[in-house]
Symmetry: D2
Subunit: 313 residues, 4 copies
Amino acid sequence: MSHAVPGLAKAVEEIADEMRQRPDRGDVASYIPELARVDANSFGLAVVSADGSVTAAGDSDTSFSIQSISKVFTLTLALGLVGDRLWRRVGREPSGSPFNSIVQLEHERGIPRNPFINAGAIAVTDAILSGHQPREALGEILRFMQFLAHDSSIAIDESVAASEKRTGFRNIALANYMKSFGVLDNPVDYTLGVYFHHCAIAMSCRQLAMAGQFLAHSGRNPATGLSVVSAERAKRINAVMLTCGHYDGSGEFAYRVGLPGKSGVGGGILAIAPGKASIAVWSPGLDKSGNSHLGRLALESLTKRMGWSIFGA
Amino acid sequence: MSHAVPGLAKAVEEIADEMRQRPDRGDVASYIPELARVDANSFGLAVVSADGSVTAAGDSDTSFSIQSISKVFTLTLALGLVGDRLWRRVGREPSGSPFNSIVQLEHERGIPRNPFINAGAIAVTDAILSGHQPREALGEILRFMQFLAHDSSIAIDESVAASEKRTGFRNIALANYMKSFGVLDNPVDYTLGVYFHHCAIAMSCRQLAMAGQFLAHSGRNPATGLSVVSAERAKRINAVMLTCGHYDGSGEFAYRVGLPGKSGVGGGILAIAPGKASIAVWSPGLDKSGNSHLGRLALESLTKRMGWSIFGA
Amino acid sequence: MSHAVPGLAKAVEEIADEMRQRPDRGDVASYIPELARVDANSFGLAVVSADGSVTAAGDSDTSFSIQSISKVFTLTLALGLVGDRLWRRVGREPSGSPFNSIVQLEHERGIPRNPFINAGAIAVTDAILSGHQPREALGEILRFMQFLAHDSSIAIDESVAASEKRTGFRNIALANYMKSFGVLDNPVDYTLGVYFHHCAIAMSCRQLAMAGQFLAHSGRNPATGLSVVSAERAKRINAVMLTCGHYDGSGEFAYRVGLPGKSGVGGGILAIAPGKASIAVWSPGLDKSGNSHLGRLALESLTKRMGWSIFGA
Amino acid sequence: MSHAVPGLAKAVEEIADEMRQRPDRGDVASYIPELARVDANSFGLAVVSADGSVTAAGDSDTSFSIQSISKVFTLTLALGLVGDRLWRRVGREPSGSPFNSIVQLEHERGIPRNPFINAGAIAVTDAILSGHQPREALGEILRFMQFLAHDSSIAIDESVAASEKRTGFRNIALANYMKSFGVLDNPVDYTLGVYFHHCAIAMSCRQLAMAGQFLAHSGRNPATGLSVVSAERAKRINAVMLTCGHYDGSGEFAYRVGLPGKSGVGGGILAIAPGKASIAVWSPGLDKSGNSHLGRLALESLTKRMGWSIFGA
């Protein structure tokens, strides 16, 4: 950690301490037993700076279900595979609706508003599948995550995937609804199978922050120098994260944290400080929009202390 | 212009040249004769850099109706007057709906989604009024604009205001609808009178870019050193502009331009490059979301050339 | 009462007795003081048989505010004035929405679903006005009511009309909203002035049941032999009453009572048993859809005892 | 046909003649090949009078896919099985929406508005299943139809059912959506299997009119004297047919025809003239609401000629 950012280690440590002690932790997702079992007192934070050094605190090496955070990476992958044609089947406007709303789909002929609500992420998954077997597509997604995080131990939690599949009636509804408008190309079961599995990838804050680096640095991993996407695409993915990354709490996240970010119902959030850092935080308790309650507070505190908001010093 | 930003003058000049020649100019707003009469070939661009210097091209000194851009300044003023209590009567989430939609109001008991859709801006105007006479409130708004732009010649175009009042049935509907939920405190006529008038303020790109400086520089006018709002508040207003500033085209603007911005149906856009510049562009032709067509293209080109996107280099 | 319908007098008496004693009376409308002041224990019932004889019980001669029941008569009048052209500005489908919903108007370009929700009745009133002064139109409506009920003492309760005008923000919103789509021809103030006044007509159950006779008897008053509308039109108005007469409680009313009917927020209901009777009931307490709670129960009991349901013996 | 209703035979004959010759026939449903193949020139009409005599014309003995008309009979069956508890999972208000809308479900927590829109009929089918095997439930529905029509030859068109199953993504979406709210008890596949099959029952106008008799005669088949449901229930089913039987064209059907009725996308309509007749008409071309175009015109003409409207002579 030779090029340590001044004040970062102290900020990360103090924020983790404060968050571990707060009594208001939100409610842990309970729709499947695998998520409900997670310890509500968990808290992890990891920051990867521009030089590749990691500053972490709390349960930053504990794996959790990344859930919707996976949508950032499937969007990246799908744009790589089909390019801007992807935007024919999914928009990039905030929906103003909860993550699993179907109303907007009826009014807009099955085209989801953006790739970060469930319907949109299912459409993106369908684009990745594009005729392949679910197993192959899923392998590609997983290898992409392992490549980005430089960690081949990252795996799918099969029990989470199985539970999602068993109880995911609303996602099945969304997928069939889009299929009825011709928005999905593959058999609904295939697309949903891949979707449920990539949402069930388990990662730690450290792994997640590592994987997000390319978004903070013009599409490149600054440590390895490898380019993942063009600088233009990295900016654009960040823009979609900022406007759509937290469902109907996206405006609030931008207002308070001031960074592009994507949350998951497992309690994780990936946030990007362009040019400065890739950040992952995890606290399982959720607010009413389904975003990590303490995760957002931790990020709000961190950006304020570090002056990292994209909206001004 | 001693501290000129390298490449800025050339970029501004070339973009203005290119835009003046483009045949695709969108459609000029025609719902009132005063706006319909504007020359569709007009194009102006003005950039105020961190040192206060102005780089301008095209019709940058021609006055136009700022319309909804005024909402940025009334939001600023209202936050100064009532602070965070303002958020009890207006949200700060993107609406996913057109500028004049009333549907969301019915589902959310008269609380507009954000201060930049019409309903929200009317609620903000009502907060500024708060018991005063319309004339006083309007005077305060106008003097605030003159102060910010350092230009006491800025005035209201009374014929525009009168036309809006005569034909603004949808805004009258929105205001009465909110009144029925108790969201407005003042007589509807008073609130709408002030609203129609502040939307009718006429300014040039140069004046508008001057007025926006405090948002680019932590709440302060860097030339005068005078503080308008706190750094925190400036960031937050920028965040709301980014997520909500272009109605149901906000995601697109973030995706392509990558700056907080606010458009008006008169064809103007104010955009903020935090720490770097306050930018105003004007081209009267609009796209289907009611935002300036060439204005957005010009800003997209400018941010790309100058590397000003908040989402990465 | 020579041609008395067997069992009717006993049924009316017993139902009135039962209703007077029930403790569950619903909530009296309280949005204006004039309605809130009404005695919740009031109950009136009047039935005009095919021979013109009146069977009444309870407070059947007490005047109450007929409110939305007036919409049946303004619809009749408007059809007389402009014929089927009326259906260009108002539909005849149930809305599935509350009486004052504005959502449907946005989705259907300002055309109200039917003439019995507020928006639709305002559009109908506008058709009656058609260029005349409000005073003239209102005089025409009032004289029509007096003619139908054979009673020139029927009058408008000016204090109710004034209260409605002072607090009717939602109706003002609906009217301006329609005006923005060009659905209203007259100045909004004129149309609403007439609307608020005809809703403020005060009548007793006896007067109301008298006025409704033409709908029960092929468009004709069987006592006088005078034709009010064609048999075809009478049937059609009854059909619209059946499908749309009780807002989002219309299905329930058809299911339980089985007669075309129109309720008002003053607690009155006019119901038509085609070929048999015109019925008016009044009890000020309302259910959650804004329809008279005991009024509906009384009608349910009456139609069951008399075998008057249009859906079978 | 000893007790022939005067004028009926002539009316039926002349209406069938007129309808066969009309050039405006609407569009035949084309979402599955089995329906698309039907001859657009087909027209059948059958009326069963109170004495059980059948008056028929045109293709009244040709089988067609009854589709949504089956919902009348599954509603009857479900009410027999679970009584008024059925109304806990389905409402009885008109929806004001197309037959396959999902918007209302989101706003009302998965409870369909009425048993005649697709979602509602799926919920009703689920109540019939209630733990049984699909095959058993389907057998019960089919035997009920055969019993009512006095015709054991009535059968399911398996190729239609298979097509519906293969392409019914929107119905799969609706069912899973309700399942996510706990409105369905059985496995979604089971419920939909039964639903798709009972919609694929094939019947002729004659068979259908026979089957509907109990609704015209206080719950009893007047020929056999056998009671199917109570008089009260027959009336209530008729009421739901009147307000909800034609999707967002229900108001129009009541306005023009004036009888309770239920249409199917196969072009059939069952209509009930209480106390007088059970009527079935078939013409495959549909109007924009998905109801038989000539079917409705034929019924409009028939009720006018026979004076059968429930809304007055």
